[in-house]
Symmetry: D2
């Protein structure tokens, strides 16, 4: 079940970058949820390159079709098949580089694993295009989580080493969605754009960090010792291409702290127990503590660069060089924001269903 994720809200993805379609089957969505193709389309559109600085020129319409599991505008309890057809496909250059794996890409590992049978065009299953399927599933998950009062939020917090200033939740909500880099800090945004443009001008790319936040997840959710909130979220997040690190709350910074600094003290506020800080990122012992769940996800620079790189010819077993042409993002971080949100939504929706937070049947 390598292409499936989730125990109760189970998402199975399929499709290749330059194949006929990419899509997902959602199994386990409760019956009775109103959902339309437009609901899903809205999330998918947030991921499209549009006018995002640094984004690819590939212009897919990405029109969502729901082919099963929805009847008269509501989920039926049966598996939901959703897909978008691939149309703007240009596979011309891939044949040429088939045997010269692009550094930083999965070309070489896929070649070894699948014995050369994998659909290498456009990266196949390893393309960022696959994340459309996460976004589709996440759209449904977000609607379900809303039933439990849980909201998911994502924003860019770092690009090319330039860090956004830490903002309050309300400011992130207000700023990130309309910001061209999905960053809540407009000042840092300008600097980030310059960094992206500089990289692009040099035929290069840059990475960054996205923060995902889940608001109002009740305390008590998570299934230790193995199915922890952190563990399941991390597993799902590493399915997103180019992710190389995941940390919760203070994360790697916590490793530098004293216990007295890092422990989040408790207090009673308005009859509810709250933590006075959130170094835990809303999770203790793998279980939510009622504070915002905060995860930071490190993206490596997208490996497709036009600068010359050293590689090998797999057939001749000889050294060679390569310069990747094609329509690529110089920085995929802003487009990854809705993807991270979607993956968080899928995962937390699964936990919410397991815990009975969302009923099996919606009326």
């Amino acid at each position: 079940m390598k292409n499936s994720f989730g125990q109760k809200f189970c998402v199975t993805t399929f499709g290749e970058s330059h194949g006929r379609c990419v899509g997902a089957v959602i199994d386990g969505c409760p019956a009775g949820l109103p959902i339309t193709e437009s609901d899903v389309q809205r999330e998918v559109d947030r991921r499209r390159p549009g006018h995002v600085p640094g984004a690819t020129a590939r212009a897919e319409e990405d029109k969502v079709e729901i082919l099963s599991g929805v009847f008269r505008g509501q989920t039926t309890g049966a598996p939901i098949l959703m897909l978008v057809w691939n149309r703007d496909v240009d596979s011309s250059q891939y044949e040429r580089i088939r045997l010269t794996p692009r550094p930083g890409h999965a070309d070489y590992t896929a070649y070894i694993k699948y014995g050369g049978f994998n659909d290498f065009r456009g990266g196949g299953r390893f393309s960022g295009r696959i994340t459309v399927t996460f976004v589709m599933a996440g759209a449904v998950a977000k609607k379900l989580l809303a039933r439990a009062g849980v909201e998911i939020l994502g924003h860019t917090v770092e690009i090319g080493g330039i860090q956004a200033e830490r903002k309050a939740i309300e400011e992130i909500k207000r700023n990130a969605e309309t910001n061209p880099l999905k960053c809540a800090d407009p000042v840092a945004t300008l600097e980030m754009i310059r960094a992206i443009e500089a990289a692009r001008a040099e035929g290069d790319s840059i990475g960054g960090i996205v923060e995902g936040i889940a608001l109002d997840m009740p305390a008590g959710i998570g299934e230790p010792v193995f199915d922890t909130l952190e563990g399941e979220l991390a597993k799902a997040l590493f399915a997103v291409p180019a992710v190389k690190g995941v940390e919760f709350g203070a994360g790697f910074d916590a490793a530098k702290k004293r216990g007295s600094e890092n422990n989040d003290n408790y207090a009673v506020r308005d009859g509810r127990i709250v933590a006075l800080t959130n170094n835990a990122g809303g999770i203790l012992g793998g279980i939510s503590n009622g504070m915002p769940i905060a995860v930071r996800v490190a993206f490596k620079p997208t490996p497709s660069i036009s600068r010359e790189q050293k590689t090998v010819n797999l057939a001749a077993m000889e050294n060679t060089t390569l310069s990747v042409k094609g329509r690529h993002d110089a920085c995929i971080v802003p487009r990854a924001v809705p993807v991270i949100e979607a993956v968080m939504a899928m995962t937390l929706c699964d936990f919410a269903l397991r815990a009975g937070l969302i009923p099996e049947l919606l009326k």
Copy 2:
């Protein structure tokens, strides 16, 4: 199956810190592996406090017993039940603090999740003691991986913000095991020890970072898009108490880099394809590329500190304060090294079995 991990090499853990025992059932170990209680004991002993600076005074003998699945010194293919009995248990102070959750611990989240029915003594299922069960399972996994030529290595790379110098694999192998902090850099070790002792003297604790390395994993292992090497390793690693971040290869540093710096170029060396750098940590597209698999794991400072902290009384719903007494580690990082190795071994052994790298039957 929240307390089970793995698809083919499946580990189910059980037991509480102050209950009768802690242990694991391993299901899916191929028949024909020679294994003795001493083999497992050796790994468990590596995790014992011993003379590690900063370690607890709890002195468990931790004598491993294998109660099923091994016959005449070899695995039978049936589930292997292994456990250690708890003996040196002092539960006296826990009743007192039962309703005043320790900041940074899972006390509060467990109380909410299990409605107060959880065995809170010594942290119950959320105690570091549970990691004995990972180490037991990891001992078997390491023996299996050795059949596929894969070796697992762990070492301390940072404590309290003090970073060890980066060392070659051979130096790590030579130094880490005998170093009191399982650190390959003897110079940094001295500074780390001072930092631990300073924290302890102030009734405080400090965190750190452990690096785990898998050597000689062949290229082509991993099951994208969801069952990636990174995803499964991360999920398993977050089961270790106090872990708050996981990164592979350059990890969060990659987010600051250009593609041209971060992409690992390829070359042919002695008829084999190698990457000239290892920013990918041995993994591309969720699949191994034949380079060392390198993961860095951030540990928060252990939350048990004797300094006074703010908390609440769960029954009275009132603010109060707490100072944690008892036998605690000021820094658990060195003792976590064999645990990280074990968790890596469990996970990679599962992948190796899924991929047919280790046969179903050993002869």
Copy 3:
């Protein structure tokens, strides 16, 4: 994962009888298997009503489309999406009977489970039409099993109480495929046809028994104690609508026998160990013994009959009567033969992959 089956060869089904399509995603098919839409079409065509006595008048073209996971005629290792579009749909009568559940159908249980949100048209997910998706997956599974030398065979052994004479494997192979009832006994076939026609004439239906056989499965396959050959096969077979009983080898007859009659004695023949009889149906302790795997599957009479039946009005909570109109099979047993074969193939293919009988990569 209620609509998914299999650990390594994992089939996820979707679609409704009168929705847009029915199909399946296969995850875990090794890369390198040559497969075309025609290969799958051939099996799907075997299930079509055609000239089978007792079959429905619904005439679906059932044209198979493969939308992902196959590239240049070979599997890639990625998920394979296959579907057929629904075209000849007549949903007119279902609205009328929506609130009067048909006896023997899943109308009532689905209504309760899904709160009335399920797509009830044509039985929705509970229609026999769903079995097209099993047949599609089974077509791939059969091709994989052929790599391991395993062949799957099905035939009708009883209809309406009329039993076919027990035939040798070779005779079953020769007769069943061309027989209109997929029965190897041409004499019993005539009687069965009369029974079906009599039932149809009276607006009634009849049931029967299908036998599935797997030839040349090597000894040693099966994963006790829970993932036994019998257990997994039975679970999968009960997913086929109208199945009410499953037995292996002598099955329920074994319950009447003495041990001395039922035990299959062993002998050495041509240097191989064989059982002299096959009351075990090729399975002992949940593991194959090298003899043909033989399972008998009981089908109840299809519940759609035009004779008047007592039912209730779910809205009014009143007694009422119902006579089911529409295009229905008087006996679905012959059409179930390729379905049983497909389900056996899916299940045994999963076991074969788990056991390493079929490699992860086909070259």
Copy 4:
């Protein structure tokens, strides 16, 4: 996870007939259930040979120990480890017959699968003794199901071809438990006892059929298309040694019926919908309909007989003969009754938890 069953109420079994212990880990039991070793002991005692006609002379005390997951008499939400130690073990004769597999036993298939490494003493993992672990888990499951008002009942309905008269539920409850064969029909019982004694006198054994019934399971439980009630129950039941057939409601008899006979008509009774007959065995479309769930389980005669049988010598690859000595049941059917109940309870408890019928936390 071959030795684990269940998604939310997950049972992992371990141990061998002549090893140190047999037991189970239950993961997923809600916190707050009062449970004592005596509760479990009571069920385990029902399975002991006692004075059951036809039972083995092996006299195990079978004293249940709960080693984790229960604290102050209540479940904690953590994994529950339960076991009984093996004491009355006589392995003397097994070495002698190690290489001459007993016909009808798993000796040969286990030898092939595990390469001779399996613990063959007393049948190892394939011994009926393993069913103690099901009964332990079932004891907990029954207590949980009682919270949802569901009751499980088992009784012997056929031995050696002698069929018990069909009795009303109340009569089964009244008679079966105290009947020496756990049969509700005292007249048939006498005949069955004679049949067992005749078989034993001739060094032979006989089989039979057990019926399991679940009362008051609400309508709407089951997870089609694959995780049907029938499918999951059948899978679990085939884990019980010697089971060769499973049928629900009319089962194989339904295959002989007309639809008009077999369809259970509906009526409103006291404001509730009921089926006027129960040929469906309480299940339609894989989902409960509110009627009693009724399953019949065929047991082959126990293969251990003292009559001479033909077998082979695995080392010499020669024909030979064998007469099985030792302490064996001439008929295991009566002892299987609590086992069938336990397996039904485990399975239905898992469904009840998945459906939210039993809360995640008991207060």
